[in-house]
């Protein structure tokens, strides 16, 4: 039996990565194939509908799939995740000298966020702001940079545009993931020393390999075993692991998604049964 996995084609490198991994699996006797999606919503629906056996899911796609599965009385498994999917943080950043040094000073101001469906550059930091009494549309204006809608923030463009808007003085603060703050500072999009981090979310988890109801348990067990056995020592795998942004696969865990569940509920992005409710979301 084949394990058919869904992956979202947010970049051409996705083909290189999964072609390479497919070779690795088939050489070790696991019949593996993959299917590319243009966005995460259909992938989540197909996973729960049993049309694919596994899905390489964004955190938001995990939440949608879990909600759809719960409504259908199905159990999903977060099989593995990358070492880089654990304990990420999103930041709220201002310009040095703007006089804004803490979150409460954003009252009445404008912040830039990434795409509507970006957990790290929109949903999670906006939830953090809410917790600090800053309610979009009431005492906070949110300027959204919708790049790659449907890709759940995998496309870096929205975050970069938000950072540029901050430096251009078009907004008072910008939201981005910690690694991108470092990246933009190195690139000079945010010149070194020009910004201050005034807010930081608690650590949260990112993607996971979700197993759906149609997968054969024995094959899943082999799939997990082979993923966890991928070694950065292996010169054939190393370039693929570099492209996918990990050094090793870790066992999956679902403890790091609670903040995103809350954020999704706060704005009614998805209903509790996994229906898409956000009216301005068109993947």
């Amino acid at each position: 039996m084949t394990i058919l996995m869904g992956a979202v084609a947010y970049d051409a490198k996705v083909v290189t990565i999964w072609d390479g991994f497919r070779r690795y699996f088939t050489e070790r006797g696991l019949d593996f194939d993959y299917l590319l999606y243009s966005h995460y919503e259909r992938q989540a629906e197909d996973l729960v509908g049993g049309r694919i056996d596994a899905a390489w899911n964004s955190p938001l796609a995990w939440i949608r799939a879990r909600r759809l599965a719960d409504a259908a009385g199905i159990k999903l498994e977060a099989l593995v995740m990358r070492d880089t999917d654990r304990d990420l943080r999103s930041l709220v950043v201002t310009k040095v000298g703007s006089g804004i040094e803490n979150l409460s000073q954003l009252d009445g101001r404008t912040i830039a966020v990434g795409a509507v469906d970006s957990p790290q550059a929109n949903l999670l930091p906006v939830s953090l702001l809410r917790k600090n009494g800053l309610i979009p549309g009431e005492n906070l204006t949110v300027r959204r940079f919708d790049v790659g809608v449907g890709l759940h923030g995998d496309h870096i463009g929205g975050e970069r545009d938000a950072a540029r808007a901050l430096m251009a003085g078009a907004v008072d603060a910008a939201c981005m993931i910690d690694a991108n703050h470092l990246l933009f500072s190195r690139e000079g999009v945010l010149p070194a020393g020009s910004t201050t981090v005034i807010g930081e979310t608690d650590p949260f988890d990112h993607c996971n390999m979700t197993i759906g109801p149609s997968a054969d348990p024995a094959e899943v067990s082999r799939f997990r075993e082979l993923l966890l056995a991928m070694s950065y020592d292996d010169a054939t795998l190393r370039p693929l692991l570099d492209l996918e942004g990990l050094k090793l696969w870790c066992p999956g865990r679902t403890s790091g998604y609670q903040a995103l569940e809350t954020a999704v509920d706060e704005i009614g992005f998805y209903g509790s049964g996994g229906d898409v409710r956000a009216s301005d979301y068109r993947p």
């Binding site: 070492d83 880089t84 654990r86 304990d87 990420l88 943080r89 930041l91 993931i177 910690d178 690694a179 703050h181 470092l182 500072s185 190195r186 070194a192 020393g193 201050t196 981090v197 930081e200 070694s231 950065y232 020592d233 010169a235 054939t236 190393r238 370039p239 942004g245 050094k247 090793l248």
Partner: protein, 395 residues
């Protein structure tokens, strides 16, 4: 747990190079070793967390000072790395590994990456101990075609003498094309581990490009047209281009061909009817000496490594002779032009002198070839016989 090693980044941030100090601090720690990172950059904790995640290191943020826990990935990349020989000439290995790719000799090569698509990977097949010295000499003795020759030197030549010079230049250009393309072709097949050989061949290509330049410029100095190109001469050169074996190509081109050309260029320089022709021929001859020296040095090395090389060289010369048996060899126009060039005039006495000079040239070429063949280890009778088989096209 022992106290972690500590570094202080002061006010240096990770976005401005702070990662270098962290990496340096981690370098000598074992996997799992802890490095405490102090610093005043306000974003230090945040950036250190993101950086550690991307590098496969752990981070402990429970204390006041963040502590990096060394992961295995940073060293994993080099676990199976190997040195591509040693950088000096004694570090050349008998067989270069195509998996080293374009890594310089002596570099520590990470496993993986595309193998180099080359087939000249054996030292015996390409090496010459003199390669380094020949490269150094060649690089130091490059000359500028524009200034090395007095292009505006005054001279008058009768029209038909000038025509003979143009014909000889046309012939030389054609031959230099072959002498350029052959090393160029082998450079693309050569493992760069044999760096000195690659460098010698590259200078050879540059030399020939310069010869093409000055011969063309001399041909067109007083004339708007070039001379003729005979089918037999081109057939002779084609057999050189078609030789796929590095050593045999060096034998046919550098030892026999360019070796004969040394005498030809010397002849042209000596009998040139004008100063420009004399200069272009002498400068080219100076370079060609190096090419012949490399061919000789390589073949001596190859023969020493394997005596059967002599037999293969003999067969290559015979094969080439057979292939050219049904062709005219040297274009009659070239041969006649050499006589006229040396005669300087059309008087019967001058033509007699020119004729004798060309007879002497052929004798000198034959003697030179025999001498070089003997130096390579051929017995005298075999050297005589093989020299006689050499193409009538000289090259």
């Amino acid at each position: 747990m022992s106290a972690p090693a500590t570094i202080d980044l002061e006010d240096l941030g990770l976005e401005s190079g702070g990662h270098l100090l962290v990496q340096r601090g981690l370098r000598d720690l074992p996997v799992g070793g802890r490095l405490s990172v102090r610093g005043q950059d306000p974003a230090l904790r945040t950036h250190l967390g993101a950086w550690c995640r991307s590098q496969g290191h752990g981070i402990d943020l429970t204390g006041v000072t963040p502590v990096v826990v060394k992961g295995s990935a940073s060293s994993a990349r080099w676990h199976r790395a190997e040195r591509a020989g040693r950088p000096d000439v004694n570090g050349v290995v008998p067989r270069a590994d195509v998996r080293w790719g374009l890594a310089p000799r002596g570099a520590l090569v990470e496993e993986g990456g595309p193998p180099l698509n080359v087939d000249l990977i054996d030292q015996d097949v390409v090496w010459a101990d003199a390669a380094r010295q020949l490269y150094v000499n060649g690089a130091a003795r490059q000359w500028n075609p524009d200034t090395a020759i007095a292009w505006d030197a005054e001279f008058e030549l009768p029209e038909e003498i000038e025509t003979a010079v143009v014909q000889v230049m046309t012939y030389l250009i054609e031959n230099e094309y072959a002498a350029l393309q052959i090393p160029a072709k082998f450079i693309g097949r050569l493992h760069p581990h044999y760096r000195e050989v690659m460098q010698v061949l590259s200078v050879q290509v540059a030399d020939e490009a310069r010869h093409v330049e000055v011969f063309t410029r001399r041909a067109l100095l007083r004339s708007s047209e070039l001379g003729v190109s005979g089918a037999g001469g081109r057939a002779s050169l084609q057999t050189l281009l078609d030789e796929p074996d590095f050593s045999l190509a060096a034998f046919l081109l550098s030892v026999l061909g360019e070796g004969s050309f040394l005498d030809l260029l010397s002849f042209i320089a000596r009998h040139a009817p004008d100063p420009v022709t004399r200069e272009v021929a002498s400068l080219a001859q100076r370079d060609e000496r190096r090419h012949v020296a490399f061919g000789m040095a390589h073949l001596k090395y190859a023969v020493e490594a394997d005596r059967s090389m002599l037999g293969r060289m003999r067969m290559a010369a015979e094969r080439r002779h057979d292939a050219l048996a049904s062709t005219a060899g040297l274009n009659q126009d070239v041969f006649d032009s050499l006589i006229v060039l040396a005669a300087h005039s059309w008087s019967p006495a001058a033509i007699t002198d020119g004729w004798s000079a060309v007879q002497q040239l052929q004798y000198d070429m034959d003697q030179g070839r025999q001498r070089r063949l003997a130096q390579l280890g051929f017995p005298a009778d075999e050297a005589t016989e093989l020299s006689a088989l050499h193409t009538r096209n000289f090259m």
